[in-house]
């Protein structure tokens, strides 16, 4: 039983030193993230394997280049502008604005409902105005022959006054 375990351990170790098992560990090895045991296996493999040496060298060159570039600066300022700082603090401290930012979903729903209600009420007002029956007393139109001219009178009060004359 014991010998079986030792054989399996040897098989595992042999498998571990294959390039395809070592390569994913190379970057962690380079950045010292590996434990001492695994780091020793990688170091030992690198000592013997030319392919992995080349790969490690390329990766290190890329990492160095990225370091150098980042030190040169990303083109962004070190601080936010005063206006932007004020805007953030205002959004954080203003009671209404901070409530809106905090409850943006509820605020959007309320906003949408208000818009829908306004449109609905305005449409209703327009429709009622367009199709509503005429209000007030019916008007009687009478044509009175006044000499040569036909006068159209559209009000009963005026008609009465014409009769009296």
């Amino acid at each position: 039983m014991n010998s079986e375990r030792i054989e399996s351990q040897i098989r595992t170790e042999k498998k571990m030193v294959e390039c395809e098992d070592i390569q994913p560990l190379l970057f962690d090895y380079m950045s010292r993230e590996l434990g001492e045991g695994r780091a020793a296996i990688v170091r030992e493999h690198l000592r013997k394997c030319r392919n992995c040496q080349i790969l490690a060298k390329d990766m290190q060159a890329a990492v160095d280049l990225l370091h150098k570039t980042s030190k040169a600066g990303s083109g962004s300022p070190e601080r936010l502008s005063e206006n932007r700082r004020k805007k953030i603090i205002w959004a954080f401290t203003h009671p209404i604005i901070s409530w809106i930012y905090k409850n943006i979903f509820i605020f959007s729903i309320i906003g949408a409902l208000i818009v829908i209600l306004t449109v609905w009420m305005f449409s209703k007002f327009l429709i009622e105005r367009r199709f509503a029956p005429l209000q007030g007393e019916p008007i009687t139109v009478i044509i009175v022959n006044h000499g040569q001219t036909n006068v159209v009178i559209g009000d009963t009060n005026i008609l009465k006054s014409v009769d009296q004359q």
Binding site: L26, D28, S31
Partner: protein
């Protein structure tokens, strides 16, 4: 009421001063523009600070992780909207051509000098997955730099 507002204002001011430099650098590396980086960081601060109750309960590391996550999300959205990432032959263009998750870990690791454990708490992945993602990103960026004749 006014003293509470003043306290909130001071807290926001302190948080901004403490983290703005790192966040601007991070967003700048993704976006390659100072002005867009400021847009991203401003939006991220507003998004994180709006939930003041949650924010006040976070530890320093948790708050930093939340801010990095939010800035990354906003910066990637801006980059997509501006159709960045695909042009240029400089070193950072090679990083910008990576997948967003790869960009995130490589910037945090190589350019910001974070450990795998710190990256794991920021991106919300296990350390093992972070290590695999880092290896893949470094391999990809090495290939792109070689292709561009920069290595």
């Amino acid at each position: 009421m006014d003293s509470h507002r003043k306290y909130k204002g001071n807290t926001a001011e302190r948080i901004i001063s403490e983290y703005e430099g790192a966040l601007l650098r991070y967003a700048g590396l993704i976006l390659g523009s100072g002005s867009l980086a400021q847009d991203a960081v401003e939006a991220a601060f507003i998004m994180v600070l709006k939930d003041s109750d949650k924010m006040m309960g976070l530890s320093r590391d948790q708050l930093l992780a939340e801010l990095y996550r939010t800035v990354h999300h906003v910066a990637v959205t801006i980059a997509g909207r501006q159709q960045l990432c695909s042009t240029g032959t400089d070193v950072m263009a090679a990083v910008r051509k990576l997948e967003p998750a790869e960009q995130q870990v490589i910037i945090l690791k190589i350019l910001e000098g974070k450990s795998n454990a710190e990256i794991s708490s920021i991106v919300g992945l296990s350390e093992e997955r972070v290590a695999r993602l880092l290896y893949k990103s470094v391999m990809n960026v090495t290939g792109k730099l070689k292709k561009a004749g920069l290595l």
